[in-house]
Amino acid sequence: MRNPMNRRLPRELKADFGKYLVIFLFLVMVVSVVSGFLVANAGIADAYKRNMRENKLEDGHLSFNVRPDEELLTNLAKHASVTLYRADFFEESDTDGTTFRVYRYNEDVNIPEVTGGRLPQAAGEIAVDNLHAHKEDIKVGDHLTVGGRDLTVVGLLALPNYSALFKDNADLMFEVENFGVGLMSEEGFDAFDSDHVTVSYAWRYSEKPETDKAKQEAADVVLTALRDELVATNTEIIQRALAGETGLTMLEVSDFLPEYENKSIQFAGEDMNGDQGAMEVFLYIVIAVLAFIVAVTTINTLSKEAGVIGTLRASGFTRGEMVRHYMILPLCAFFAGMLVGNVLGYTGLRDFMVSIYREMYSLGKVETFWNADAFVKTTLIPSIIMIVINAAILIWKLRIGPLQFLRREISGRKKKRALRLSRNIPFSWRFRIRILLQNLPNYITMSVGIILAGAIIIFGLMFQPLLKTVAKRIDDTSISRYQYIIKTPEEAGDGAERFAIATLETTHKDYKTDEISVYGIEAGSKFVKTAIPAGQVLLSNGYMDKYNVKKGDTVRLYDKYADKTYEFVVAGEYPYEASLAVFMNRGEFAEMFDKTPDYYSGYFSDRELTELSESNVYMRLDSSVFGSFADQLWKSFADFMGPVKWFGILMFVLMVYLLAKQIIERNQTSISMTKILGFTGGEIGGLYIVSTSLVVVASLLLAVPLVDRLLRLVFKTYLYQRMSGYLPYCVSSDCYWKMILLGIASYAAVVALQLWKIHRIPKSEALKTLE
C-alpha cells in the first residue's frame, strides 16, 4: 500500500506555496548563476589553454637596451637549451593616455588566433587584439594612427601571450581600454620608424618543463646563462673602451620574464581558478544557510504537528518514515530549483557569464560544453549539504519519544520556568520579549543569514568607493607630480631631484611574488620629506600593511638578475600608495648595489622635464598613470559587482520573508485569540512584527562590525596572498549606510506581506484548535 501520508504533499505544497516558492527561487537564483559561471568558466579556460597549447606560446622573454651580438644569443641558446625568437616591439602613447604596443610578427612563437579578418601582410597593415578592438570599437577596415602614421586594420587577434592586457608586469590590473596590442608583418614593422623599439626575444625550451619547480629551475638556468653572457660581453666592452674605442654602450637587460611569472599569460588562468574556487565556496555557504533556514521551517512544522507526530509514532510509524516524510517537500522544492537553475545556467546565464569574461580577457573562439564537474559542484555537493543538514536536524529533533511529542515537549529539554520579566517593562514589550524568546532559533538563523547577505551586499558595494579612495590616496601620497626613470644618467634642470631605483622581489613563501621598488633618496630630499635613519629604511604603507611588517623588523628582498638577497631594517612607514616601495638613503643604496656614490637613475619633479631626451626616458610616471589604474580596476569589477549586490539584496528579502512567515504561522492560534480579545490588526502587527523588525535592524547593525571583520580577514588571509600589488582594505561608511537602508527598505516589503498575512488569519483559528 502506498503511504497515504504522501497525499498530504500536494496539499501541503499548495497551503505553504510561499515557503516552497522561496526555496525554489533561492535555488534557481544561486544554482543558475553558479552553474552558468562554472560552465562559462570551463569553456573560457578551454579557449585560454587551447590558444597557449596550440600556438607556440613563449616560455619566457627578455629585453635589452641595445641589440646584443649574435654570439651572445647563440651562447645563451646553447647553454640554456632554448631557442630564441626575435620578438621586438615598439610602443606609442596617445595624448589621452592610451598605449599601443606593436609586435613584429613571428610565425614560430606566440602565434595569434585570428578572430576576424586576416594577418597583416603588407607595410601599413596592422592586426589588433580583439578585446582592445571591441572596447575601442575598432573594426576590420578601420584606420589607426600609430606614432603619427596611418595603418589599416586588417585583422583581429587573440594572442596567446596576451590573454590579459597587462601593460607592465608590475601592474596590479590589466588595462583593456588604455592599453592595446597589435601585430605588424616583419616588413611592415621594420619599415616603421619608431624611437621606442624594444629589442626583445622570446624563448622556448628544447624540452618543455612540466612542473612548477621544473619551470623555475629551467628559468634559473636561462638567467644564469644570461648573467654569464652579460658579464662576458660587458667585460669585453669595458676592455674595448679602455683600449680607446668610443661609442660603446654597456649591454643591460631591461626585462626578463619567464612565462610562469608573466601576468599577461598567467593572470586569466589564475583569475578563472580563483573565481571558480570563490564561487564554489560562496555556493556552499549559501546552500548551508538555506539548509538551516529550511530546517528551521521544518522544526516549526514539527512543533505545529507535534500531536499528530506523537500519535503516528505511538501507532508505529518509524522515525525514518517521519524524517523522510518531512524532508520530501523541501527536497522537491530544492531539486526543482536545482533543475531549473541548471537549465538556466546552461542556457542564458552561461552566455552572460561568457560575455563578462570576454569583457576582461582576450580570447579566441569559446565553446562551452556539458560539464560533469560543474554538475557535481552545483548539484551533487549542494544536494548532499542540504540532505545531510536537514536529515541531521530532523533525526535530532525526532529523537524524542512519541510521549514528548504528545505532550508537545519537542525541544527535548525539560521545561524550564518562564523567564521572569520585570513588571516595570510595559506589557507590550514583555509580550515582544516572549516572542523573541519563543522564536530564538528562527531569529538566530535570521541573524546569521542577514549578516551573510550583508557581507554579500557590502562586497558588491565596496569596490567603487574603494577604488576612488585608492586613486585619491595615490594622488595624495605621490612623491612628486612626475617621476622619470632614465636609461643612462642625464642632467635635468631646476626643480628636479635625483633618485636611484632598483627593482627587487619579495621572498615571502605564502604570498605571490611582488616587485618592490627600492628608492635611493637624496639626503635632505624636498620630495621624500621624512628623514630616513642611517642603516635603516622606510617602507611604503602598503608594503607594511600587506606583509604585516612592524617597525624594527628586517625584510629580505631578492634580486633575480644578480641572484642576491638583500636585508633591510625597517625604521618605519612612509605614506606612498602608488607602488610597494622601500626608501633608503642614496649613499647606502649605492653601497648596497655596488654603484658609484653619485649613481642615479631617475628624477622626482613637479614639472614636466622636457629637457630629457625622449629616447633616454625609460618610464614616466604621473598621476594619470596611477589614476587610470583605479579606473581600470573598477571597469573590470563593475560587471560582476552589480549582480553581486542585487543577489545579496534578493537573498536578504527571501530569507527574512521565509523566517518571518514562520513566526506568524507558528503563532497563528495566539494571533487569532488576540483578535478575539479585541486587538486590532495594527496592534497585533505591533506585537509580532516589531519583534522581528528589532531582530532585522539589530542584525543589520551587528552586520557592520562583523562584516568589516569578515572582509578584513578575506583581504588579509585570502586576497593579499593571492594577488600581487596592494589594495588597501577600506570600506566607505556610505556602503554600510546603503546596506542598512537597502536592508530596511526591502524588509518593508516583507512587513507588508506579514501584515496581510496577519489580516487573513481568521478568528475561528483559535476556536478550531480548541475543539
Binding site: 497515504p4 501520508m5 497525499r7 501541503e12 500531536g307 505511538a314 501507532s315 475543539e771
Partner: protein, 233 residues
C-alpha cells in the same frame, strides 16, 4: 499465562525533593479480548500505566509482558515494530492530520498493518462513510474522535489503548464513542484498555482496575457487564 501481564511496575518523575512517585508496584493481568477500564482520579498514574503498556514510556522497575514478550527487553526499533504490529492508540485529543480527508486519515492506520480491515466497511461501522471526503476541520468533535478510533482500529490491533477518549466530548457524543468501542471489542475481538476518570464506565468493562496514588486499589472482573446505552452518568 495472561495476554497482558504487568508485574510490580514502578515509575517516578523528577529528581531529589521534587521526585514524585507515579506508580509504586502495580500488578495487573489482562486476558485476550477483555475490555479493561483503568479508573482513577487525576494523578493516580493511569495514563502513565497506559503509556508504559504502549511502549511510549519506560518503567523504573517491574515489567510489562504482552503475549509472552517483555517490552523492557525491546530496543527502540523493536518497540516501534511492536506498536506498529500490535497496538492501536486513541487519545483525548484526536490528533488527526488536518490536510488528509477522513478516509485518508484512516488509511494512515491501514498503511501500518499487514492485515488491515476493509476501510469502507469500517467507515460504515463508524458512521463516517458519508463524511469520508471531508477534512477534519469540517467534522464535529465526535466525528473527529470516531475518525481517530478508525485510524487505530483499521490496523486490527491486538490491543487498543484509549486515553480518556471521551474527555473532550459532551455526554451524547461520549456515549456514541463508547458504544463504538464496545462494538469494536465485540466485533473484532481486540483487547481494549481504556483510561477514564468516569467511575460510571466501570459498568461497561470486563475488567475494572482502580488506581489510587500509584497503586492498584481494586482489580476485579465485572460480573454484571452492561451495554453503554444503559449506563447513565
Amino acid at each position: 499465562m495472561s495476554f497482558v501481564e504487568i508485574h510490580n511496575l514502578k515509575k517516578s518523575y523528577g529528581e531529589g525533593e521534587a521526585r514524585q512517585t507515579v506508580l509504586s508496584g502495580v500488578d495487573i493481568t489482562i486476558e485476550k479480548g477483555e475490555f479493561c477500564v483503568l479508573l482513577g482520579p487525576s494523578g493516580s498514574g493511569k495514563s502513565t500505566l497506559l503509556n508504559i503498556i504502549g511502549g511510549i514510556d519506560n518503567a523504573d522497575d517491574g515489567y510489562v509482558m504482552i503475549d509472552g514478550e517483555k517490552t523492557a527487553d525491546m530496543n527502540e526499533s523493536r518497540l516501534t515494530q511492536y506498536r506498529r504490529n500490535h497496538l492501536g492508540y486513541v487519545f483525548q485529543l484526536y490528533n488527526l492530520i488536518p490536510n488528509l480527508t477522513v478516509r485518508e486519515n484512516v488509511e494512515v492506520g491501514a498503511y501500518l498493518s499487514k492485515k488491515p480491515l476493509p476501510v469502507d466497511d469500517l467507515l460504515k461501522t463508524l458512521g463516517l462513510y458519508e463524511h469520508r471526503h471531508k477534512l477534519p476541520t469540517q467534522l464535529s468533535g465526535g466525528q473527529q474522535q470516531r475518525t481517530a478510533i478508525g485510524r487505530a482500529v483499521i490496523k486490527n490491533p491486538d490491543i487498543l489503548l484509549c486515553d480518556e477518549p471521551t474527555g473532550a466530548l459532551d455526554y451524547n457524543t461520549s456515549k456514541e464513542i463508547l458504544g463504538l468501542l464496545e462494538r469494536i471489542n465485540k466485533e473484532y475481538g481486540n483487547t481494549i484498555i481504556m483510561v477514564t476518570h468516569n467511575d460510571a464506565l466501570k459498568a461497561m468493562a470486563d475488567r475494572v482496575v482502580k488506581l489510587r496514588d500509584g497503586k492498584v486499589s481494586r482489580n476485579y472482573l465485572n460480573e454484571n457487564k452492561q451495554p453503554v446505552s444503559e449506563i447513565e452518568w
